[in-house]
Amino acid sequence: MTDAAVALPARRRRSSASYRLERRIKKGFLVVAVGLVLIYTLFPYYWAIVSSTKQGAALYRNTFLPAFDLTYYKALYENRIFLGSLVNSAFVASSTTALSLILGISAAYALGRIDFPQRRGVLMTILMISIFPQVVVLSGMFELINWLGLYNRPSALILTYLLATVPFTTWILTTFIREFPRELEEAAIIDGCSHFRILTKILLPLMGPSLASTGILAFILAWNEFLFALTFILTDENRTVPVAIGLMGGSSRYEYPFGQIMAASVTVTLPLIILVLIFQRRIVAGLTAGAVKG
């Protein structure tokens, strides 16, 4: 009787100590894992920054700190063709985004708010268009671009990018619109308000954040596109940034201008990373809204 009364607290103390130790080990393990994940995801971009600020022989020595030599950046910003491709990319990506948001929000209103029999069919068709490979439309698109006289013009890219961005914005905005309570518009419907007014006066003012996250995703999609930009643009001054970087190269494998390529890479990626970090939560919401509910 007394034995058990004495033994019990002792055992409990020991088990709580081992429990604490176990928890500490687990926590240490988790912190190490987090560190590894951070190095894995962030080091390549950090290394691009480091490499882009080194000059000449220093580039080939692996010190892990940046040298803050901005020669490559200066050369890059004096390079008219590269600056031109930045302007082209900005023009193409923002026009594509604006157009896809307008087409997307209008269609999303119908798909999210009005009941009509073919709704499911339309949604499925949109989903199918968004997953089929771009190379499949390449021949037909080539002919279309030539007919319209858009070959080798950045505006050709705006048209072709709609193939990827419009299904995407329509799909995501539809899921966003469905999340708004219908009560919002019921009074307006009873008052005989038109659909156009419901969309522009009631829903749109509330949809700022949804439009922002959808817009950012569409912008990134258009900014990063490669296949169409490579195929439909012929001359250097009309190229977009990804193709300009993709085609940068030296006269041989051994004098490859890696420093310059890294400077260009850092430059075109920085705005995207800043956007992504600022709108982190919204972007995650947009990405998962499309997939989880679909």
């Binding site: 798909l111 009005i114 439309v137 419009v166 990063n224």
Partner: protein, 298 residues
């Protein structure tokens, strides 16, 4: 009255969708139809108006080409291996972020960085890090004494496919993590607590509770990633141009079409790519549906 209203609603719906539908007709349906049409002709890109119909000859030409089968094999190998690694790694990182740990917000933000970087840029960054003479990876391996001289990661025929897969895993695991994380957060906490109170070991909680509940989320993520991987073009093209070692089906089709100017054969190759992707999509959706049906049965 209500019938009239419903009809007015229906008309309104089509009007709201009209701009989107017109855009899709112009940039998706029409080019797709033209590609199918050209695949039955002997047209060349320099003069697409001058051609005659030749039936299925182009299709036979493509499947009789050894390079096409190499491209198909590369595409399938790339898809299966990279998506498998991404799923496992994505699941691991998602489980990690889901824990209450210091720096959780930081990891969640950091994980988005590889996803936001353009494919071309990511490829160039890794190409530089993997450079045989000056790449940081070889330098680190040498200084650790693991190798004597740098490995030519991107020039060696048997390694380059591994490099392509590695870069793709780096870029697209974030997408996996986000989707799986969304799935994890929908699992009610009470279930896990109940299991923990009952003294069920952690691995069994994961295997019998978390994994079955995550299946739909993982299924959707895998479907998206597989379809995306099957059409991969930019990564392999930037790293190795038209080298056969990593040529994908999309690169093959574009080569025939643009580099060789063979509008007919290129269109037939594109159509084969389309059929391949459609076949795999139907297969995966079928498996997911069967799964769901099996889950619903008592």
């Amino acid at each position: 009255m209500s019938v009239k209203l419903a009809r007015a609603d229906r008309r309104a719906a089509w009007m709201f969708m009209a701009p989107m539908l017109v855009a899709m007709l112009v940039v998706a349906v029409w080019p797709l139809a033209r590609t199918f049409y050209f695949s039955f002709t002997d047209a060349y890109l320099d003069d697409p108006t001058n051609y005659s119909l030749i039936g299925f000859e182009n299709y036979l030409e493509v499947i009789g080409d050894r390079t096409w089968w190499i491209a198909v094999r590369n595409t399938l190998l790339f898809t299966v291996v990279s998506v498998a690694i991404e799923t496992v790694l994505g699941l691991g990182i998602a489980l990690l972020i889901n824990q209450a740990i210091p720096g959780r917000g930081l990891v969640r933000a950091a994980i988005l960085v590889p996803w936001a970087i353009p494919v071309v840029v990511a490829t160039k960054m890794w190409e530089w890090m993997l450079n045989d003479q000056f790449g940081v990876l070889n330098q680190v391996l040498i200084s650790m004494g693991l190798i004597d001289h740098g490995i030519a990661w991107t020039a060696n025929g048997s390694l380059i496919m591994g490099v392509v897969i590695f870069i793709d895993v780096w870029m697209t695991t974030p997408f996996m993590v986000l989707l799986i994380l969304a799935g994890l957060q929908m699992i009610p906490g009470e279930i896990m607590e109940a299991a923990e109170v009952d003294g069920i070991p952690a691995w069994k909680r994961f295997w019998s509770i978390v994994l079955p509940l995550l299946k739909p989320a993982i299924g959707v993520a895998v479907l998206f990633r597989v379809l995306d991987a099957l059409r991969m073009f930019d990564l392999a093209y930037v790293l190795a141009a038209s080298s056969e070692q990593v040529m994908t089906a999309s690169i093959y089709a574009r080569n025939r079409l643009i580099s060789f100017q063979e509008l007919g054969i290129g269109s037939a190759a594109s159509t084969w790519v389309f059929l391949l992707v459609a076949f795999v999509a139907i297969l995966i959706i079928g498996v997911l549906r069967l799964d769901r049906a099996a889950g619903e049965a008592p």
